[in-house]
Amino acid sequence: MDIDDFGPKEPTCRMLEANDKRAYFIVRDWNLETANSLRRVMLAEVPTLAIDTVEVLDNTSVLADEFIAHRLGLIPLIAEDVDKLIDFRDCDCEDSRCDNCSVTLRLKAKCTGNDVMKVYARDMVIESMPPSDKLGQPVITDAEGNGSCIVKLRKGQAIDMRCIAKKGIAKEHAKWAPSAAIGFEYDPANKLHHLDLWYEGDDPKKEWPVDETRVDLDGGPEKTDEPFNYDAVPERFFFDVETVGGLSPDSIVNNGIKVLQQKLASVIKELTGVDEASAGLDGAQSPTMDGGFGNDGYGNDGGYTTPGYGGANAYAGGTTPYGATPYGGAPGW
């Protein structure tokens, strides 16, 4: 297949639902490999913030230190500005707990009354000076404003813990996962026959429910009178990104795209030996990208046209997550 066959068609999004919890959208005229890579990146490689080290100063609750430490690790923290933190493995500070690479939260509670006391995520107080106000605060979404319950205390029991939250990715531990779930589907009507539906009776169509709305969005059900097109490839992708609360759904998608672009840029840098950014690609296209993909016949390398890679962005300081600094500290960007 010639590259120009898909050159003129540009991938476009169509949003079906957008709120604080969920981004439900379709990408049209895209390809399966890139869509799947984006899905994988959003699941496992978008950096967020989570408690990684716990100093136990006091614990007379019925739960073991390890047990509580595990619970603390899983508490979602607001991570909207994690870009401002550097990776703790790259930080020069001793035992990696400085304000540049971590946020310290203190959980201190003692039960004095006769009733059982519940200690919630809201009881954690930020002790350090995080780079932005909200960064590191526990995510609270319930109506009472409590957040997750960490431990119950009886009279006289107390806990006192210093929790050091760090930036990380879900590849290392699932507590850093930005998304609670990512729905991903293409071809809901199974027109491409990528699925071989299991059935007990005579007809799989009778036994399998059909998502009518999605089928309509994907160009209607299969036309049985037409011959099967063996060259057809998936072009429309349904994404349903649901957040844990630390990052907004659109940040997950945008950061996912950024991380994937950085990955690819690091490949380019490694193979060409040139830091693309410092090579001064003056031929970089305008942000509108009207004259983009496929039009120049690859005669000139258009450079990257990512919005947000301007000189003043968070990645420009040469401190991209996980070492690769494809866009790092470059002049003219």
Partner: protein
Amino acid sequence: MEGSKILCNAKLINDNPNTQGRDYVKQKTHAEENLPDRFELFILDEGQQKIEVREETKVPNTTVFTFNKEDHTLGNLISQRLLKYDYITFSAYKVPHPLFATFELRVTTDGSITPKDAVVRCCKDVIQDLSKVSMSFQGEWLNQKIIEEGQRDAEVRDQGNY
């Protein structure tokens, strides 16, 4: 695996007689000692290169790239995307062993371009593609958000009228 590491070099809280002094950093269990660190999946080993390039001498215009600390996210993306260019005659990847975060990408071209340049060009194109998706997504997100907020406001107003 634990959610977070414990560091107990803590001072005793004096006013509580139930507290036992703990002065240890948690020992690893036998199983944990054999467990490879999870960050080895994405952080390069000491002196390791991100990509090792090996020319295939038996076949012309063929290169095998070994990507270290990368997985199917990049492997599938690059190998599948390369197949769409007509100067590529072969492109595939494999993960030699599932416990090691590495994959090998083998690329053969028709000779009009080196495999290395082909991969670089492919990566650039994907980056541009992603930029377009990103732009389109941001616009759509804002639109939809405004619409949904408008609807919610309208509902609130309607309820106030009753």
